[in-house]
Symmetry: C2
Subunit: 251 residues, 2 copies
């Protein structure tokens, strides 16, 4: 038995999220169906770095799985891509030690949220949130810095509020103007890990601040009072990309 | 009766092209269905600057139509976008003289063809041609200059070879590296007008040159012998965008 690590990208538009759910099209299911064909019809579990929600995309998602067959990484990459549907693509395959774990060994993750403040763009509608009105980017840039550091993000988790540990560290949070498209911005978070809906809720809070409905300092208040009942609307899924997953070991 | 000019964009992925065809989903049909609702249930013909093929996108397509009802351009824009599906968006509406014609008055058009020479990208699969191998861009940049000027483009038209007049003028043709994505290029043509499949055939020829299967000077030979039977494969539709339509009058 050998353990393999893969890096892959996907278009989340036509998936009900990463994780297997009976009767629904998921990324994990497509990967496992494909690996079953490669691995002598044996059910092969895929362990990703984490889940992504319905319609969320990935530029770099990572996973590991074990195979019984003998195959070179080059051939495995080709085999995976020849069976996978055209909205998933595996661009890197490596053999790793049997104690490597794609989720437990994660050191940091990066998420990018794309938002268009200009006129509606049909070709981007599944890939950039079409906000289509002006936001106070200056206020949002001040606000986003308050997310940096180690905080209890309980208030930014829509579900599972009973979750025991919502403390996470955000190393860097920033808002960049798109190099290519006018009126388009990329909101970027790098951290130890993110809770369910956390990024979309943080972006939702930033949009509220950009619209003048909240103040940048409100983020400080919410993070200091994680059990407060702040009204936060999560930003739509289509603007969100899992952009990087880093490990202690050099992959 | 008043005549209106519109500028609109669309995602061609789920359309069978611009022009109405019975039983198929087309952009013209969606526009006319919408205008019928606005124009007191009266059939309203839409005259675009020209057709685009199945799966071809538009950043800027233009059209005109006549309405009997009284409506401000602001209200008409809102009404159009509220009825149109989310893969078409009208971003400009103007009232124009009754002798304006969106096709006959065209002065020039611009097409952009997007091509990815790097690894396959799932989120771009419907918006950028996934060529996924290296091309000799230097040779292609020399080759593309031979398209500039006034030529008989008969050899670059897949169908309707009997067409009487295939003489067109290309003002400018260039290849730009994408500002945002590594290994992505934009092939750009500005000209008086383009024949059916002409841009995709010119791009197909450029790719052949980039692969070393033809030489840049072959374009000169083909243009000088328009009835030659050169083997040209048209590039896939998904990379193509109608990017601009210009008129004599300032619109």
């Amino acid at each position: 038995m050998k353990r393999y690590y893969i890096e892959f990208s996907y278009d989340g538009s036509n998936f009900k999220g990463y994780q297997i759910q009976p009767g629904l099209r998921t990324i994990q299911e497509e990967l496992q169906k494909t690996l079953k064909k490669i691995n002598n019809n044996k059910i092969t579990l895929v362990h990703a770095s984490g889940r992504t929600d319905k319609k969320v995309h990935a530029y770099k998602q990572t996973a590991h799985f074990d195979l019984d067959i003998k195959i070179t990484t080059d051939k495995l990459k080709r085999a995976l891509n020849s069976y996978l549907p055209n909205d998933i693509y595996v661009y890197n395959v490596k053999e790793v030690p049997l104690d490597f774990h794609a989720r437990y060994n994660v050191k940091s993750k990066k998420y990018i949220y794309k938002i268009n403040l200009g006129e509606y763009c049909p070709t981007d509608r599944n890939y950039v949130y079409q906000c289509c009105h002006k936001l106070n980017i200056k206020a949002m840039r001040l606000a986003i810095t308050y997310f940096e550091g180690t905080h209890d993000f309980r208030a930014f988790v829509t579900e599972n509020k009973e979750k025991s540990n919502c403390v996470r560290t955000i190393y860097k949070a920033s808002i960049k103007k798109s190099k290519m498209k006018e009126n388009q911005y990329e909101i970027c978070f790098i951290g130890t890990g993110f809770l369910k809906y956390q990024v979309r809720n943080m972006v939702g809070m930033l949009i509220k601040i950009g619209e003048g409905k909240s103040k940048p300092r409100d983020i400080v208040d919410i993070l200091e009072n994680p059990d407060c009942l702040a009204v936060i609307h999560k930003a739509p899924a289509e603007g969100l990309y899992l952009a990087d997953v880093c490990y202690d070991v050099i992959m």
